[in-house]
Symmetry: D2
Subunit: 293 residues, 4 copies
């Protein structure tokens, strides 16, 4: 494939993903609101466009991995935005995590440009992005997704077709609802164990030995043992995602009793200044409510 | 080891566990309130005592795997109960799931008999009981647990020492709090996905591909796909365990916001007649509340 | 005061309020998307404008009592909308219940017209609207609110100044959070009493005799006794308000653990088809979850 | 009526109630585990028995107003306990707040003495006890309750017959579930208002002007305004009552989604050292979770 790829957003995820695209032999042009140093670009094997419009002008596939609607609005619809260069020969793939509703609104506004739009958020954070083992949740016309699949597979290990545009985001919400539940669940049970006089270490060992064991718990065990929560997936991000979940459930009528409790708890953590820590820091508020220090 | 083992309770779990003890070469006498057929006893390789007292008279280790306090009261303290034969040369191992509080009360009442008491509930249900891959959560004097460990390892793959008597039950509660959370969490996210127009099958696939994947979800996937919930772990049992959890948290002061929601939900399932189904049937109430049929 | 009043929205509330304005001697022109019959207008003592723009052209005060943002958008900003006639000599009073966020956005969009904007949602429903005993929760410039107060007092018994534009809506949300809590609380306690074998009638009597007694409970007692819920305040409206509350709390960081549960419960009632009943029908889902019929 | 009354328990409530009985012309003997000073007894117009048994020996009606099961066990069944003097000519009225389950167990244990047992907890705290305006919630044989009613009406303004023994306690639980909900609801809405930039004072004023106004909110308004919570009804007591509610709902199957959240919140307050403050101090944990100080 000798198609050119434009990549918007050089955060932790974006850099890793663009690097994997370049390493797979694709020509990759990137854009970021804060400029990258020349050595960084060279080490990634990519070049930098002066603005999103010129990036989109040259690219066949335009990929966005941005922090949210505000950044998408700026880079697609703002001055020198990519949207001005969109047409029916180009494919626009939004891999940023946004709500299903925003995705559908975006699709409606993109329609006049005829661009082929895919929403493709990912399951997995920094490590899977670097290792190209992300699971990519794709919504859009099936034919468009099939055409993009080889490209997507240079960034991930699996592409799951979820349905029409917006359904990639819907799947991401469903997965993150479960993610938020399991993380809080582990912390709640660990707090319960500790208050009952058990060693948290022993509790985590027991969980590891049985049918509840999973990679998430392996990754977070040391944080819970040590009480330090350096961000892998920042708590403020799961909080934002759970707000999308609550908004979506309100629209569809899905009953999410635990989801409501989780939004309440994670939001309270943000209010208490824990938003930049890893989301395992939900442990802190549970400990505090139980009167521990 | 040529010590005799007495086993009280021949339910699904008890039969599998007593069978494993006999297969390992131990002499096993059993007692059950409803009499077992001769062929059953022979196929298991065990003999039947006429009452708990005579069982305890002959045994060095007395193991109970019963449905709860009511059965324990009857078989230990009732007429011809095992308690009358307890003494300082015998070890009594309660593997039934009961609350930490009941366990400590039982310990206090057993003290005058001098029997060496271990509380050792298990993590794992029918299949691990049959395969002798249970994880055994033991509380008691460390020396007593060490002495019983070889015996316990003929029924399970791992013995975890949790602390003084009652702490085995405490650990079981902590694990089952997480178990109840994860089961409800999977069902809630699946319901959310379905109400959002996603195929539940695809959702379960995505979960299986990522860091949330665990043996529990593999076991329950087909139930959720098919909407049939034959009991592996009956919903009424997790409900009872979550009540123990809420009682224990009230005593210790542990904050369990999700635990409260879970007790409410599973108890509502029991009220609606779902108690004898597998606990994955919590899916049903979530679907109903969302207006689905 | 010989100023003319334009009133947008002739629903249950709007008719009662416009009627009170006319009865107080004001000249009132009304507009409604579905036309009112001549006799109705005459009995109210008002005349009808052909469109919102012509209404606003003639009026000094323009009052809106509409179902929500969609209707406001249409009548203010749509073709022949009132907004086109707004200027710095006119006062626009939105008495519809909308979110603080929408109110602030509306204020920003109204700024270029120089219209003096007051947000003034009301506490109270049909009966107080008819009796002119509404409590009016006003946000805006203090001077504007003071000038409008005599007019507002022909529709209500009290005007409470809540702060800058948006704070009237914020106060409405706070009051309706408490309203939703108390209604659900009464139903939950009544269900609990009934499941415990008490007569619901006796329970309501006890509540009426003590410090929890309030006009709300007096109004809803008969619904709870009889199990019929003709709408005074439709359940779908409290549901919408609680969504505003959850959205607002997410922005401000307020911790609303009960608010989350309430949104979940009322939304589930809507999903089950109870949205057009009175919000006391939250009783139904509590009864159902408890296995009663 | 020249019958003698024995009164067990001279706490804040008991003193006020026994004083009202004496003032009404009854002969009252009291007992308390810590001895009262002579002047206190004289000012109340009562005399003190050396132990509960001698008190019960002389009295026709024995009334208990104690802190809970532990005190009841000691004074009824302990050494020189009142139970030893119970017979079919005496009436025993337990006005302490205990669970319906404990009340029924107590009734079963009292049966052999033939004493006529009434459970009669009260709605109302210190002030209504002093003013003899308590609402008395009575369970027992209807004839017994009718006979005791004139006596009870010297301590309260109303006696409500709730059904068989245990139903007085059941009613008390139902009322306190609502009480706990309304108190938390007021604090949650006030916190929400404050985080939204409203003056709490204005919010309380609005509540006072409308259909949610009740004596409870009048009593607690100053605590919420001032942030000081001197105990009228200690937070640890509502916490204990809500545990009874959760236990009872678990038995009956009543769905109490808010009740679970409330137990969680009030219990967390106790864990944080707020148990001896008034239950309006639930405000504190809501403020803290919202990141306020």
């Amino acid at each position: 494939m000798d198609r050119k790829i434009g990549f918007l957003g050089m955060g932790i995820m974006g850099r890793a993903m663009a690097g994997n695209l370049a390493r797979a032999g694709h020509e990759v042009i990137v854009y970021n609101r804060t400029v990258l140093r020349k050595e960084e670009l060279e080490s990634m094997g990519v070049s930098m466009a002066p603005n999103p419009r010129m990036l989109a002008d040259q690219a066949d596939f335009i990929i966005a991995m941005l922090t949210g609607p505000e950044a998408i609005e700026a880079l697609i619809w703002g001055p020198e935005g990519a949207g001005a260069a969109f047409n029916g020969h180009k494919v626009f793939i939004n891999m940023s995590t946004v709500s299903p509703r925003y995705t559908r609104e975006l699709a409606a506004r993109l329609a006049p440009t005829s661009v082929r739009f895919i929403d493709a958020p990912v399951s997995g954070s920094k490590k899977p992005a670097e290792d190209a083992t992300l699971v990519i949740l794709a919504g859009g016309r099936q034919q468009d997704v099939e055409e993009a699949t080889p490209l997507l597979l240079t960034m991930g290990k699996k592409v799951v077709y979820c349905g029409a545009v917006g359904q990639g985001s819907m799947m991401k919400m469903a997965v993150n609802l479960l993610l938020g539940t399991m993380m809080e669940g582990l912390c709640e049970a660990a707090t319960f164990a500790a208050k009952g006089g058990l060693a948290v270490d022993t509790f985590l060992d027991v969980v590891s030995s049985g049918p509840l064991n999973c990679a998430l718990f392996q990754m977070k065990g040391d944080m819970i043992r040590g009480g330090e929560f350096p961000a892998q997936f920042p708590l403020k991000h799961i909080t934002k995602d759970l707000k999308f979940v609550v908004d979506t459930a309100y629209e569809t009528g899905a009953a999410i009793p635990a989801g409501h409790v989780l939004l309440h708890l994670y939001r309270a953590c943000v209010a208490r200044g824990l938003g930049d820590l890893d989301f395992a820091a939900v442990m802190e508020i549970l400990r505090e409510m139980g009167g521990s220090h």
